[in-house]
Subunit: 683 residues, 2 copies
């Protein structure tokens, strides 16, 4: 099996025989890898020219639909991914994180793309900024897709998830990707890319694959490209300093080494549920993927008073871990990815040994189920204990990328904070405590060093996703040693592939660019009430200006009696006047908006089907009896819900009084039928 590269919409083989890739379980060669002869500059150009323009013909919702279709398609091929994944040393549970975890990232991005982004090509960032007195000149931040390629350089430990977690946000943003998996497990990535390409769900050019070296690709980067790197800090630094990256200010994000810590709270003594939860969490993080997880717990920070108990409990639990062939159902932990990796882990343990004692593992004398220790890269879980962690260096800087952790005792919370910080920046951190004051102190003391923090207690443990699981909803990345990058985090992850620009101009111009009407823009009035228009017929700016309605004292009395809202400010002139905001009895806010609806609603059966909500209602000043109100209702934003027969329409609403003073502003949210749906419904 010789892995191929997917270049400019064609599968091509490297021109030399390639580097052999060995199975983690028995060392036999299962593939060869080479990208020799690939023209990397042309790949970048193809991505920008063909992939980018193809992707950007679509809206965010269109691309979100593609992600869902892709996820569904990959679900159908799960079996072969799982089978091949075994060769990487992964158990079924490990593969689940990689394969199902990766596919679920596509589902989440699909869902978030449709719920949190517009069905449009421009993403509006925040609301208009008021920058002129009369509002004839205003401003809006927008995000547009970078007009370049997303170069994704992935680590060996998650050949599927590692690709998909970067791919989902890039594609949603509209940016084509060039994926370069780490060699040792690239065969699984290549298989998944084949299935993706075969599905013909993505437009041509949206995805290319490099199996092997990236050659001179970096020489061809420009200011519109994005590099997202996962791997060692050393490699990240080298790439980040590449003259072209520097010259073009290429957007570069890195997710690298991480001496992640977990802190056991001082309240969590051995008899508490939290102590047991902590032991379980540490053991799980040490053994899942044989500890080859960039988020795994490397530093176990625990009260000195219980560190003896903890070491005993962890050692016992680690002693129960069954190591062997990952396909065997009795096996808890498979193999490291390669012999090289095993040698490196052992070497790192030796470095740690200068400051910490091995208290469990690191022997060659352990049982292996169904496999040959000499052929496979099996490794015993290894626990160390460092007596003076505050003055130690190696335990805070040497990452043994395998089933290895070190216990670091602390005397008080300030010490625990200091130990956590000594990691120099991490992807993930956890705190196990049932004391929320302790949680707050530890989080505020260490959050600036961590991209993600999990607080586990007896109340959330059953549903907790655990210390080491990045979620597509949450940011992934960390400062300092962790690379200083950020990925995922829902829509935030997509925005990293886009450029934020502040746009200034007239309300009309900004509405034309962002497809959202802005106060001060032209109001289109006609004889046809906008509630009589279908989704397609409605235009931004379509407006009703209602007649006036006076609010009487009787109205206020009546509304109070009817609703039961007899708040004194509505009922009692004298007491109301004692309220610093009022001069006497005022109308209920809900009365004002109810009357407003009475004014703007067109009552007959029509394409506007339902009011599903209200946003940002603000009462600007009190309404007293005798005041006469009128309403302006303007079509502000339209979001088509593809395939549903309707779209969401947001109406900018302003209630004014007889002096043209603004009384209330809000957005009314409605569902409006499409032409087709309206024809059906009204038939």
């Amino acid at each position: 099996m010789k892995l191929q590269n997917f270049v400019e919409n064609h599968w091509v083989e490297g021109s030399d025989e390639g580097k052999p890739l060995a199975s983690a379980i028995d060392g036999r060669t299962i593939a060869a890898i080479s990208s020799k002869g690939v023209e990397f500059g042309a790949m970048l150009d193809y991505a920008r020219r063909v992939g980018g323009s193809n992707l950007q013909k679509y809206t965010f919702h269109d691309r979100a639909h593609m992600l869902k279709a892709l996820a569904q398609h990959l679900m159908e091929h799960k079996k072969e991914f799982y089978a091949l994944s075994t060769e990487t040393g992964a158990t079924k549970g490990d593969s689940w994180i990689d394969i199902d975890g990766g596919i679920s990232t596509l589902f989440v991005y699909s869902s978030k793309g449709r719920r949190e982004m517009p069905n449009d090509k421009v993403y509006l960032d925040g609301t208009p900024e008021r920058i002129s007195r009369d509002g004839t000149f205003t401003a809006q931040h927008i995000f547009t897709p970078r007009q370049g390629a997303a170069v994704h350089i992935n680590a060996y430990n998650f050949p599927c998830w590692g690709m998909l977690e970067k791919l989902a946000p890039a594609l949603l943003a509209g940016v084509p990707a060039i994926v370069k998996p780490a060699s040792s497990t690239a065969y699984l990535t290549e298989l998944m890319v084949r299935r993706i390409i075969e599905a013909e769900i993505l437009p041509i050019g949206a995805l290319q694959l490099i199996c092997g070296s990236v050659g001179d690709l970096f020489e061809h980067l420009n200011c519109q490209d994005v590099v997202a790197f996962t791997g060692s800090k050393g490699t990240a630094e080298m790439l980040q300093q590449h003259p072209q990256v520097i010259a073009e200010s290429v957007h570069f994000t890195a997710e690298t080494d991480s001496l992640n810590s977990s802190i056991l709270g001082p309240d969590a003594t051995p008899e508490t549920p939290e102590f047991d939860l902590f032991v379980k969490e540490v053991v799980r993080e040490m053994t899942v993927k044989a500890g080859q997880k960039c988020t795994a717990i490397r530093r176990v920070i625990a009260p000195a008073a219980v560190s003896g108990d903890l070491v005993r409990a962890l050692s016992e639990a680690l002693g129960r871990i069954r190591i062997g062939h990952p396909a065997n159902k009795d096996v808890d932990m498979g193999a490291l990815v390669s012999h090289d990796q095993r040698d490196e882990v052992r070497e790192r343990i030796t470095m740690l040994g200068s400051e910490a004692d091995v208290v469990f593992g690191n022997t060659d004398d352990f049982d292996i189920i169904d496999a040959d220790a000499k052929k496979g890269a099996f490794f015993e879980p290894t626990l160390l204990h460092c007596e003076r962690p505050l003055t130690a260096k190696a335990v805070h800087s040497v990452e043994a990328f395998g089933p290895v952790s070190t216990v670091l005792p602390y005397e008080n919370l300030d010490e625990a904070i200091e130990l956590s910080r000594l990691g120099g920046g991490s992807l993930a951190s956890s705190i196990v405590t049932n004391d929320n004051k302790v949680a707050r102190k530890l989080v505020l003391g260490t959050a600036a060093w961590h991209g993600r923090m999990v607080v586990i207690n007896r109340h959330c443990a059953a549903e907790s996703t655990g210390h080491g699981s990045p979620l597509p909803h949450l940011v992934h990345g960390g400062p300092g040693r962790a690379g200083g990058g950020e990925e995922l985090g829902g829509i935030r992850g997509a925005l990293h592939y886009m450029q934020r620009s502040a746009i200034q101009g007239s309300p009309e111009t900004l509405a034309a660019i962002g497809n959202r009407w802005i106060r001060g823009g032209v109001e289109i009035e006609s004889d046809i009430h906008p509630f009589r228009k279908t989704f397609e017929q409605l235009k931004l700016g379509d407006t009703v200006n209602t007649k006036e309605r006076e609010i009487s004292l009787a109205d206020i009395d009546h509304f109070a009696e009817f609703t039961g809202d007899t708040f004194y400010a509505h009922m009692d002139e004298q007491t109301a006047a004692k309220n610093p905001f009022f001069e006497g009895r005022v109308a209920h806010g809900y009365l004002i908006v109810s009357f407003a609806a009475g004014l703007f609603v067109d009552p007959d059966f029509g394409p506007v089907l339902a009011n599903y909500g209200v946003d940002e209602l603000r009462f600007a000043q009190p309404v007293n009896f005798g005041d006469a109100l009128k309403v302006r209702l303007t079509c502000k934003q339209k979001t088509l819900r593809d395939g549903s027969g309707y779209g969401e329409v947001r109406w900018d609403t302003e209630i004014t009084n007889q002096n043209s003073e603004i009384v209330a502003t809000y957005d009314v949210l409605t569902m409006v039928a499409t032409d087709e749906e309206w024809a059906n419904v009204s038939a």
Copy 2:
């Protein structure tokens, strides 16, 4: 006058005699500058240890109040800033941008900090993410201040604004700053820092100043520090590649060279107002600050058909510019900052000359008012014209940092887009057109290359702040050649000085960390209705669970008649059933929330003073007559308005029906009196 450094709360002089700084107007030495002997590592340590912890004792609102006090204090000293600013070659108008513009940045950040950030130490980013089925485990993104120093390296052209636009967001975030102004105009920065320090508004350690070289400061940076650089791309690249910056993944933002362009739309022919606006804008951008603005228009992109007219009109207008002593009221344009700068500009014009012809200026034969051409760094505005801009290189890459622009003709919009992109990334771009379709096409085609874009037409021109003015509300920075950084943009600018972390845990734990109650958290019920509690007495989680109220058909009929909202879905069983969302007549949404208020309101005079709004009201399912509704109202978030006597309290509100199904959810916003205010009001 020897400039001093402000180091660890003391003014200290460099240990050597320093480098002399010359007046831009007459070349006489007005100060000497040196930072020799300063211990830069100790400065960083002092900032982190003393400045950071002092600043972070306060809330965002506290620090926002400091910014306002600082702005007011600096306003009182404006006169001496203006006087000294003249020496930099700045006219009164130029100084206004620098001095008043800088101070207004403090005002805007103060206002935004109080309106858009909590009166707390943690900034919540978005709403909780649903990551578990039962909601016992949830997540919230937060921002906390980086635990390091903000190193601000500023350019010579805006010695005041350049400092303040970086200082305001850093201080608001809670991060202490070390300011290093460019030498040639550092005397003005030093004066302003003296006034800031004397005011004793900022806590000790919040601000330090380096006048001169930064020595070995970069050797001491760590992963919590931030470097914000403004200056040449070359220097930025050198600093960005510093081994310590790379090793520690120091957050680095740069704002550098920029070949900003302005595009004249094809509709804007010589007889249109837009043509005249364009001429005015280009001339203004060329001559304000004698063109020494990183946002100035360097590339004038215009339809080939009118480029002759345009060159004539620009030349005429440039011919009317009066050059001379900036303090003279008749002078339109002052001097460049130094003779070196003048030499550099001339050299750059020579480079441009290989591809473009000088069509105005660049002579030594021009009138100078009230000054000596030999002593001062005066320079004539210079316009070039490039006949084949699509194949040219220099006009898109050589920045002549003075009153210099080049006209680049285009044949069609695609060419205009291509020319704009050839700048390789800019801070600012403008488009002058009265055709919003042209505006949309140009913005979508070029936004990914620009941090800010201005569209000018006859409707917004009077209130337009112009092509070259960064505003504190809007992001400032751009991709590629512009450095790839981002500053300002309101709160966005402060967030660059903070670390985003995803926090996972139980709703109770997250509420303890973020001071915002989360659905699923503990509801505290007592005999005392929460409306009877003052701001201080209210606790997050304080809850009313109301009794039930049944909605009758008569209620719906009555509400319709009373409000006038006779929408068919409320009135007509048969037609309502045709609506895909309903099975028959449904209650009005406003009726539901009005009845809800009737249920949860405690009517008597009490500390809850007023309902000022509603957020995120969503109707989850229809309510039919016969349904019985009840309400849960829970204290969700408290924001004290210092000095006002009240605070804002946000209530999480949920309406359920007799089957415990959610009917509606929303946030009710109220003003609640403090203990003191309530004692006054109720006295």
